[in-house]
């Protein structure tokens, strides 16, 4: 559009104006550039073009114009002049390329997305495979005794679990092998889906649409195939959605596939309907499936962020894979039991308030670990059960069952259950999200198993060692007592206190403190006492397991302690929070391993107690809190071997952590790539859109509703605007197209819509300040390239200006400047010419330019100077906006509701009311003897460069003699131009509002009688310009406006004569 860089050149001549000063002005609006801006400028957040963007934009802008009381006239492009068409042909090529690029970007985007999905899917596999040998080696020594012990305690469980594990293994292999294939296949499918795209290029439209039809059918068969189901859910959804969308977009494209036979049409329609329905169903099912799997992930995210202020960055792991260690769950579950019948709500609370830590430990590695011990088996099973509660609230019923079982266990032994449920592994459920159906089966089995194991567990848990527990409990009380007040969530731990208290008869005084906490606790104590009895009874049952469980019980309490300490410290010194959590994290990671060790030490029962208490003290030390749990340290025997067990495990974890980090990195880069591609796609798609006739017609329809007159220029809208301006039918033009100057506009308002203020340019200012007139501007356009010519390569406006300054002509036609330049260039580039020594630098540079044959083109010059325009001087009429119709229109097209419409139209209707008032409020501007010449010296802005400055200076010097010549021989020059122009004179297109056939600008001038005001202006113009501008004498006689103008001109004149 226009001449590149011309605006920058003209910038010093512009001046900002306030929009309210334009009230009542008649302004021509170059609709073509508007529509271009709107169609390309309006975009959604991804950068894609919006539907109805042009209408929306025009609507907004028209509202703005009308609310400021401006009377707009819209000027649309008519046909495209041949010259422009030629120039544009080159550009269209570029556009086509852009379309293709957009296409490619889309494809890349999709394949990238799929890769990302698959990558996510494969993630559990890779680290596993690396881990497997390690685990094998690290646990080789200990595995056999473990297994034996496990076997003795619960062989059935182990077997079952191994089955599951085998299945997992199988799946893993299968998945790994199929991953690559998947990528390929998905890529293909996507490309198929993706080839569908709307485009505007007329020639390829049909072809594409036909291709689309086939693709659609193909895709359809693709999605019905079984292979499709194997794809990851997200990918499935993506593809389906894409299909649905593209189907919507391209309904025109299907004209081609219509059956020729009329009879077949209904069946064709039915067929399509069925297909559409199938697609819809498929999408729904996929969405449902996805929804199920995503709920828990979202829940966890929320939990992490809201409840515990965890930064998910600190808790390492991907969003949908990894471990969740639920630390508070035991407490909550106790609570649950207390309010047992309470229902799903408590359940939700339960899962919501769970302290979750997303661990990066890999699913399978963990299962492998667990597999080796019974206790881990139990934990795992339990975990799988409880993991379901956050994952799917729909499964509440089954969860309740689980919950009841757990509660049963809790009744028997609080500590026991807490240990087991301390570690909640979400991994199995997470596994589902790898979208393999095999695994779902596996998971089902797991669930079944967990049910049965729970039953197994419950009897084996009724064990508490009072001496060990009581001492730690009393201390625990202290901790809780001091933290509970600060922490609101601390109330949950306190509920545990009475229970522990009742078990340990010593801590009555502590109990008093706790009693203050709430009456509910008192009620609980009663229950707890009963439980205590039961516990005691059961205590006698099996002493062996007792020991084991006592270990875990203390452990559980310790964990709770940690939780409390963390929460209290979080309250007191929030800064340490993350450090705490991190440490906590590490500790909890280790817990399963501790369990392992506990199992190992099972034969040595006494030691086991030590084992368990030691880690507890360890925790506390690690936390670095001055917690008063010193007694735990006292009771716990300081064993040396405690660290031994932990070290290898930890290294194991760091390994996993590194792998996860790698994965995260890959993910990040993929994400970045994706966003990049997305924006690229948006950009290319926007470049690819173009203005169709339909858009113009729709816009005109909208303008009709607003009662705004519009004309369709025979060719270029800008030239028509320029004519209206010159003919005083308008008070200026609103356009951002610098072509307006080339067609002879006198007043142009730029940046009408934008963040910057409106800039007002007058040709008089430009002439005065920059010594540029219309002819020179045309020459600049010819040199640097405009709509009608591509110009000389390497020449911008600045160089063009230099050329103009370098080759001044005293000739009449400015065109001769270029001829002269050409002659010089031809001469200087003759092989046998000797280059003069003193050739200025500029000329040296100009010599290097490559001029195309046929430059300068007289035709281009004439096309600018004598564009084909509609020269009717019929005045315009403005109707009243049909507000009701506009509202209906807006609700139809934009989906606006009443309120939105009203808010948009309020200023318009307000202004309308003002206009209805017979009295018009003019501004003082026309009354005041404004010292306008002050304003005519626009704020001096920094000129671009020294080069530019020099060129301007030179131009100024040159222009003085030219000025004199121009004044004397002005009329003859006009004639000359005219004689040359006839072959170019284009045929007129009759625009919709029929107007009398008129002649060209120049003819016009000769025919009209000059009015008084006209002559004044002419004089003024001549004083300023090097040569005349073709001003027709179509002046409105004796209006207020012209009076004001006369005054201004007089001042102008006097000022200039003084000079």
């Amino acid at each position: 559009m226009g001449v590149q860089g011309l605006w920058q050149l003209l910038e010093p001549a512009g001046r900002p104006v306030e929009v309210h000063t334009l009230r009542g002005k008649i302004l021509a609006v170059d609709a073509s550039i508007w529509l271009h801006q709107l169609v390309k400028g309006f975009r959604d957040k991804d950068g894609n073009p919006l539907p109805n963007a042009h209408l929306l934009g025009v609507f907004y802008r028209v509202c703005k114009l009308l609310s400021y009381g401006i009377k707009p006239i819209f000027v649309f492009d008519g046909g495209v002049p041949i010259l422009k068409r030629q120039t544009l042909a080159g550009r269209r090529k570029h556009k086509l390329e852009a379309i293709d690029k957009s296409e490619v970007a889309r494809q890349k985007l999709l394949s990238n997305f799929i890769r990302q999905q698959l990558h996510r899917g494969t993630r559990p596999v890779d680290p596993n495979q690396q881990l497997d040998p390690q685990i094998a080696s690290s646990s080789a020594s200990s595995s056999s005794p473990k297994k034996s012990s496990t076997a003795t305690s619960s062989p059935t469980k182990r077997d079952k679990f191994q089955d599951v594990d085998l299945e997992l293994q199988k799946f893993r292999e299968k998945f790994a092998s199929s991953t690559e294939m998947d990528v390929d296949r998905v890529d293909k499918t996507c490309i198929k889906v993706d080839t569908v795209d709307d485009d505007e290029d007329d020639s390829s439209d049909e072809e594409r649409s036909r291709r689309y039809g086939m693709d659609y059918a193909e895709n359809f068969s693709a999605i019905t195939s079984k292979d499709f189901n194997v794809l990851p859910l997200e990918t499935q959804h993506e593809i389906l959605f894409e299909m649905q969308e593209s189907r919507k977009m391209n309904s025109w494209g299907k004209m081609e596939q219509m059956p020729n036979n009329l009879q077949d049409f209904s069946s064709y329609q039915m067929d399509r309907l069925v297909k559409r329905r199938f697609l819809q169903k498929k999408i729904q099912s996929v969405q449902q499936e996805m929804g199920k799997r995503h709920i828990h992930v979202q829940n966890l995210d929320e939990l992490l962020k809201m409840n515990y202020n965890f930064d998910s960055d600190d808790v390492v792991g991907s969003k949908d894979k990894g471990f969740v260690l639920v630390k508070k769950s035991p407490l909550k579950k106790i609570q649950n039991k207390d309010s047992e019948e309470s229902s799903s709500l408590t359940m939700d609370e339960d899962s919501n308030s769970m302290k979750t830590l997303v661990d990066k430990v890999d699913t399978d590695s963990e299962t492998n670990d667990f597999n080796k011990t019974v206790s881990n088996d139990e934990t795992f099973n339990l975990a799988s059960g409880s993991a379901r509660s956050p994952s799917n609230s729909n499964q509440l019923a089954s969860d309740l069952d689980e919950e009841e079982q757990i509660a049963l266990a809790i009744k028997l032994s609080l500590e026991q259950s807490s240990t087991d449920s301390t570690i909640v592994t979400v991994s199995p459920t997470k596994e589902i999200s790898t979208k393999e159906q095999d695994i779902i089966k596996g998971n089902d089995e797991l669930k079944v198993q967990s049910g049965s194991t729970n039953k197994h567990i419950s009897p084996s848990k009724p064990l508490v060692i009072l001496p060990a527990a009581s001492s730690s409990c009393s201390k625990f009380l202290d901790v809780v007592g001091f933290s509970s007040r600060a922490v609101s969530s601390g109330t949950t731990p306190t509920k545990k206190i009475p229970e522990s208290v009742s078990e340990s008869d010593e801590s009555d005084d502590d109990f008093d403190d706790v009693e203050e906490e709430g009456e509910s606790i008192v009620q609980e104590i009663g229950e707890n006492n009963k439980e205590h009895d039961i516990v005691n009874n059961l205590l006698n049952n099996s002493s062996q397991v007792n020991n084991n469980n006592s270990g875990s019980s203390t452990f559980a309490i310790a964990t709770i302690n940690i939780a409390d300490v963390v929460s209290s410290s979080a309250q007191s010194d929030g800064d340490d929070m993350f450090a705490d959590i991190f440490e906590n994290d590490e500790n909890t990671e280790i817990t399963p391993n501790r369990d392992v060790e506990r199992q190992e030490s099972k034969p040595r029962v006494e030691e086991a107690i030590n084992w368990d208490s030691d880690p507890d003290t360890e925790f506390i030390e690690e936390l670095g809190k001055k917690t008063p749990i010193k007694t735990v340290q006292e009771t716990g025997n300081q064993e040396i071997n405690r660290t031994l067990g932990r070290m290898p495990q930890q290294s194991n974890f760091t390994e996993v952590r590194m792998i996860t980090a790698e994965y995260m990195q890959a993910q990040e880069s993929l994400n970045a790539e994706r966003t990049k591609l997305q924006s690229e796609k948006g950009f290319q798609a926007r470049v690819a859109t173009s203005i169709s006739d339909q858009i113009s017609v729709e816009t005109q329809e909208l303008l009709g509703l607003f009662g705004i007159p519009y004309i369709i220029s025979p060719h270029e809208a800008e030239s028509q605007c320029a004519f209206l301006d010159v003919a005083c039918l308008t008070d200026g033009t609103i356009t951002d197209d610098s072509d307006a100057w080339l067609f002879g506009s006198l007043r142009v308002y730029k940046n009408f819509y934008g963040h910057k203020s409106i800039e007002f340019y007058q040709l008089a200012d430009i002439t005065q300040n920059l010594n540029l007139d219309r002819e020179k501007l045309v020459l600049i356009a010819m040199l640097s390239g405009g709509d009608y010519s591509d110009g000389i390569e390497g020449v911008g406006p600045v160089t063009a200006l230099e050329i103009l300054a370098e080759f001044p002509t005293n000739e009449i036609s400015a065109f001769d400047t270029l001829v002269k330049f050409r002659e010089w260039w031809d001469m200087i580039n003759l092989p046998d010419i000797s280059i003069p020594e003193d050739m200025p630098k500029i000329r040296e540079k100009l010599k290097k330019l490559k001029l195309q044959p046929g430059f300068p083109s007289e035709a281009v010059y004439q096309a600018y100077m004598n564009p084909s325009i509609d020269t009717s001087t019929e005045t315009f009429r403005w109707g009243n906006p049909d507000l009701d119709a506009i509202k209906t229109y807006a609700s139809n097209k934009f989906g606006w509701d009443q309120a939105k419409c009203d808010s948009m139209l309020l200023p318009v209707s307000k202004n309308l009311q003002c206009q209805m008032d017979k009295l018009k409020q003019p501004t003082l501007d026309s009354f005041l003897l404004s010292n306008r010449q002050d304003l005519n010296q626009p704020v001096k802005r920094k000129r671009g460069s020294k080069r530019l400055d020099n060129a301007f200076k030179k131009l100024k010097q040159n222009s003085i003699p030219v000025d004199e010549v121009a004044l004397s021989s002005e009329s003859s020059s006009e004639e000359e131009v005219l004689e040359e122009s006839p072959p170019l004179r284009p045929k007129k297109k009759v625009p919709p509002p029929p107007r009398p056939k008129a002649k060209l600008n120049n003819d016009y001038k000769k025919n009209e009688e000059p009015s008084a005001s006209r002559s004044l202006e002419e004089i003024n113009v001549n004083l300023h310009r090097n040569k005349t501008v073709n001003i027709p004498q179509v002046m409105q006689s004796a209006t207020d406006q012209s009076r004001a103008k006369q005054k201004a001109i007089e001042i102008f004149k006097s000022k200039n004569t003084k000079k």
Binding site: E18, H20, T21, R23, K71, R877, W878, Q915, D917, K918, L919, K920, Q921, P922, T923, L924, D925, S926, F927, L928, L929, S930, N931, D934, L935
Partner: protein, 260 residues
Amino acid sequence: MFEAKLQQAGTLKKILDAIKELLTEATFDCTDSGIQLQAMDNSHVSLVSLNLRADGFETYRCDRNVSMGMNLTSLGKILKCCSADDVVTMKAQDAADIVTFVFEASNQERVSDFDMKLMNLDQEHLGIPETDYACVVKMPSAEFARVIRDLSQFGESITFSCSKAGVKFSSTGDIGTGNVKVAQSSSVDSKDATTIELQEPVTLTFASRYLGLFAKASGLSERVQLSMSPEVPLVVEFKINDIGYVRYYLAPKIEDDDGN
């Protein structure tokens, strides 16, 4: 260096009250001869012209011309800090970006000073053409304010019809029509007299909103002078006792005859 001392801060307060609703910011041009302010309102329908002569101040010193762009809301905040009978001194350095106001209480016990940041305002200097007005009405400003207030209730415009006998103000609106006739007083000397100097009868219509804003200056002076000619802006002038004047110019409404 610019320094001007005014005996009555209340005058300044009233001046501000008279212009602050038309203008949000304005440039005070301080020259050797006094302080001038000239600005159009946002919609360029009215113009305020304030002139405070140097000799009206108790002391006045202006070495070099200073243009002080002020935000009138901020100025209002500062002037709230003084009482009407304080002595106020305005000070500014040459090419300074702040102006200082010093308020001294009449009992000499309290002196406060405030600095206000100045703004750089784009200023259009508009020449107001000298016109011989066809009709000049002088009347008590309270009477003028009342007429405007009463008639503003009726419609958005008020028509001034001047004849030898008197001035008729009329307004028509949704609720009906209101007319107020003010006759020329018989005793010309009286302070409350309404006098009309008439070359030819004039009928002009003005926006009542602006007239209402002008009427806020009636506290400045007991008399108001309305100057009218066909098709030129109305001038409403309030003299500020012995120091200068504030003038309002208002473009008359015109018949919209093109039917647009």
